[in-house]
């Protein structure tokens, strides 16, 4: 796990020290295993099955800064303890995590950066 610093409601520095790959990020967002579109919908016309438990991802790069998006992915509960959005880069403070997932974050630091880079392209 890479260390990170929260300032205000953002993590301004990349977890990997480099910029993510937006194309990889899009592929990851629509992949079922990332869990994103189980709850969110977005500009994914080819995806028949999207959720409506959470905001549409369209325009997220216009609504939030890169650092704000990074914190919302890494640990949304930091901002709202009652949120149903999982903390995608967290291994502590969880209960009864299944053996296959124990000690691992939902997304790796590289994957977080890829998703952040993709969401930043969604300006409208």
């Amino acid at each position: 796990m890479q260390p990170y610093t929260v300032v205000g409601d953002a993590i301004s520095a990349s977890l990997t020290g480099t910029k993510g790959d937006a194309t990889h990020g899009r592929a990851l967002v629509v992949e079922r295993s990332s869990t994103c579109i189980l709850c969110h919908s977005g500009p994914f016309p080819e995806q028949a099955f999207q959720g409506d438990l959470a905001p549409n991802l369209s325009g997220s790069g216009g609504r939030w800064s890169e650092g704000q998006l990074r914190l919302r992915l890494v640990d949304a509960a930091h901002l709202n303890a009652a949120t149903i959005m999982p903390s995608y880069y967290r291994v502590d403070g969880l209960t009864r995590v299944g053996a296959s997932w124990r000690g691992k974050p939902i997304l790796s630091a590289e994957q977080i950066e890829d998703v952040v880079a993709y969401l930043m392209t969604l300006k409208n």
Binding site: I37, G51, L53, A77, I84, P86, L94, T95, V97, G98
Partner: protein, 257 residues
Amino acid sequence: MRIALCIALLTAMAGAALATEISLDQRRSGYSFMSADTKAMQDEDTANPGMLFVLDGEALWKRKAGSADKACADCHSDARVSMKGVAAHYPAFEKTLGKPVDLEGRINLCRSNHQQASPFAYESRELLALTAYVAQQSRGVPIAAGDDPDLAPFVEKGHALFVQRQGQLNLACANCHDDNWDKKLAGSPITQGQPTGYPLYRLEWQALGSLQRRLRACITGIRAQAYDYGSPELVELELYLMTRARGMPVETPAVRP
């Protein structure tokens, strides 16, 4: 003064615990979220694949088993009479064990104690069939589980588990099934998780399955460690869910997508 404060606090806490519960007029069976085709499959006994298991269960009910060489029917006679309404009261408190048992557990206790036969394995065709046959005798009967005061601490444990966030996704049952039912998860409606029709035929499984199987699948879905079949936690969760579904009619054998 101190006692009055305690009572006030307890009342406030009980109010908070009940605040998210679904009121009787809002309770909806998983049936109401299904397509017309799937509803028709449940409604018509000749189209309902669960009925094949019920028929197997009926044969098992009459078959002698164990070193006692007794069939269920030798003690309980005609299930259509003796088992009517029984499943609506399960899980029930078992005094000799000091804890609740679900219908599958009750059938296996009967096998061990009265038939002197080995218990059926969880999710075995025999146990599902016999459970479905017994539960089908309560079809249409309002669920009335949890009346026994001995059950109260176990209902509370089940409720605590229902609202406990767990797994890598850090979600509680309540996050979806109390707070977000009727929204869509990956395009499919989230139901209230009312266990009205178990054992039921799930098209995804291409088989009849128990409520414990469904709970284990949901727990794995949030990437938590699933409790073992027959574990106290699963029975307590079943018990809480059945008390939460009070007043809703039993649908066994239900069909679900």
